[in-house]
């Protein structure tokens, strides 16, 4: 592990050199170097996670505490977002379906949209905004105030205690949040359908489940694990490797959200390709 740390520290020094190089003129070259160095560091960080996650002692209590903060505490935000998205999507889709005289397809169409894409993607983005930035800022301020170094000295493994628990709980909590957001979103869609029309709950319910198949549900569910993992690992990486000073904290929180959201879309595009590969 020490080897890893020294390696990362070495990378940080290289990074500083490159950043200084950028200001002194050799711009395009250093941008590429900086990018590839970032990629290599985040890969090492991820590999380290997979190495540390199996090793005892397991920080079980901290995992539960983080799951509470990351999962339970995010539910109100995610729930409200899900409800609004379900409602708005339904109301917005109605005029288009009306043109085709297919308003009766509204519940089926909205259900497939929410379950396959809107639910997971919107929840993951909200999650990146709330949890990704939280992890980034928290770890960065610990880094800046040298708490991480202090843990190192007191024989606690900071990576295990701080990063592994957060990444694990985000990976496990996001799928649950997505399932609940989907449920709330479908309820929002039910309200949306009934704003201008009249569909009984029973009919709505049966139309929704008529339209859904396992090939809609499972790929959407599986990709949320990857979303959660990516958001937390990016957040942790940015926080763990924050620059010194208060500016470093803000920067870490900011780039945790930006890169976390970007990762969500990248994973999404890969997931949709893989899913369509199996569908044909």
């Amino acid at each position: 592990m020490e080897k890893h740390i020294s390696h990362i520290a070495g990378n940080e020094n290289q990074m500083k050199e490159i950043t200084q190089g950028a200001s002194s003129g050799n711009f395009s070259n250093s941008i590429f170097k900086k990018f590839f160095l970032e990629v290599s560091m985040i890969t090492i960080f991820t590999l380290r996670f997979f190495k540390e996650v199996w090793k005892p002692p397991y920080e079980f209590n901290e995992l539960l505490r983080q799951s509470f903060l990351i999962g339970y505490k995010s539910f109100p935000l995610v729930g409200i977002t899900g409800f609004i998205i379900g409602l708005v999507l339904t109301v917005q889709s109605r005029p288009t379906l009306m043109k085709f005289g297919a308003v009766s397809l509204l519940p089926a169409m909205v259900a497939v949209s929410i379950i396959r894409e809107i639910g997971p993607a919107i929840t993951a983005l909200i999650f990146a905004g709330k949890v990704g930035s939280g992890i980034g800022a928290e770890l960065a301020s610990m880094k800046v105030t040298e708490q991480i170094d202090a843990m190192q000295v007191s024989w606690t493994n900071p990576f295990k205690y701080l990063v592994v628990t957060r990444v694990l709980s985000a990976t496990l909590m996001l799928p649950l949040l997505v399932v609940l957001a989907d449920a709330v979103g479908l309820f929002g869609a039910y309200v949306g359908v009934n704003l201008k029309g009249s569909v009984s709950f029973h009919l709505f319910f049966s139309q929704v489940f008529q339209s859904l198949e396992f090939k809609d549900v499972f790929p959407a569910f599986i990709k949320t694990f990857f979303f959660g993992f990516a958001i937390a690992i990016v957040g942790s990486y940015k926080g763990y490797n924050a620059n010194k000073g208060t500016e470093g904290v803000g920067k870490a929180a900011n780039s945790a959200v930006v890169f976390g959201s970007l990762m969500v879309f990248l994973i999404d595009v890969v997931a949709v390709q893989i899913t369509s590969l199996f569908e044909n």
Partner: protein
């Protein structure tokens, strides 16, 4: 410590709720595909399945009672389909039931329709082969429609020739309708008839007073 415990309970509620919603969702999605119900399998052979796919619904008297499980090509002229039907509806489907392929609305999915058999009391059994009716192919409809349209165009062109000839006064009907001399002839004939009948009447009046016809 107490706070910690209550947080753990809240987390427990959250996780249970999430897992429960997921399982209920999976159950209802699976229910539609009849994964958790007891079903029986029957098969049928079609010449052409007209776009039917595995997973399409099977309807009996307008109710979804099953799904198409698999479709496979048996030979160059036959396609075999396997269908799973809900066990509860077995008692209504007789051995001589007939399967046909229809569609849900104008643009909807294809469905397999089972019409109940009549005149027998034997229920359908597992792995029975069900009789089928070949679906009406859209191409065939269009082909027959083309012959109809060709015939219609012949008929209309003949009709237009006829009406043209009538209008120009050719042929018997044309002359009858368009030739004024015929009408004039008719007219003069009627005039002659009229005067003739008047003369005849006078003659008859005279005849009445004639002694030769007394007693009539």
């Amino acid at each position: 410590m107490k706070q910690d415990l209550s947080n753990k309970i809240k987390l427990g509620v959250f996780v249970t709720l999430g897992v429960a919603v997921f399982i209920i969702g999976i159950y209802f999605v699976g229910e539609r595909q009849q994964l958790f119900r007891s079903t029986f399998r029957v098969s049928g052979v079609f010449k052409d399945v007209a776009g039917l796919q595995a997973g399409n619904n099977v309807r009996f008297s307008g109710i979804n009672v099953g799904t198409v499980e698999s479709i496979s090509v048996v030979s160059d002229t036959s396609v075999r389909i396997e269908i799973l039907i809900d066990e509860d509806t077995r008692k209504f489907i007789k051995k001589n039931a007939v399967a046909s392929i229809g569609s849900e609305g104008l643009m909807g999915n294809k469905i397999l329709i089972i019409s109940p058999g009549i005149g027998t009391k034997n229920q359908i059994e597992d792995n029975d082969k069900i009789a089928t009716v070949q679906p009406v192919n859209m191409d065939e409809i269009l082909a027959s429609l083309k012959t109809t349209i060709d015939n219609t165009s012949n008929v209309t062109s003949d009709l237009s020739k006829i009406t043209h000839e009538i209008q120009t006064g050719k042929g018997t009907i044309g002359k009858l309708l368009m030739d004024k001399s015929i009408a004039n002839n008719f007219d003069s004939t009627f005039v002659n008839l009229k005067s003739g009948s008047a003369e005849f009447r006078k003659l008859m009046e005279k005849a009445k007073s004639s002694w030769l016809l007394w007693g009539f």
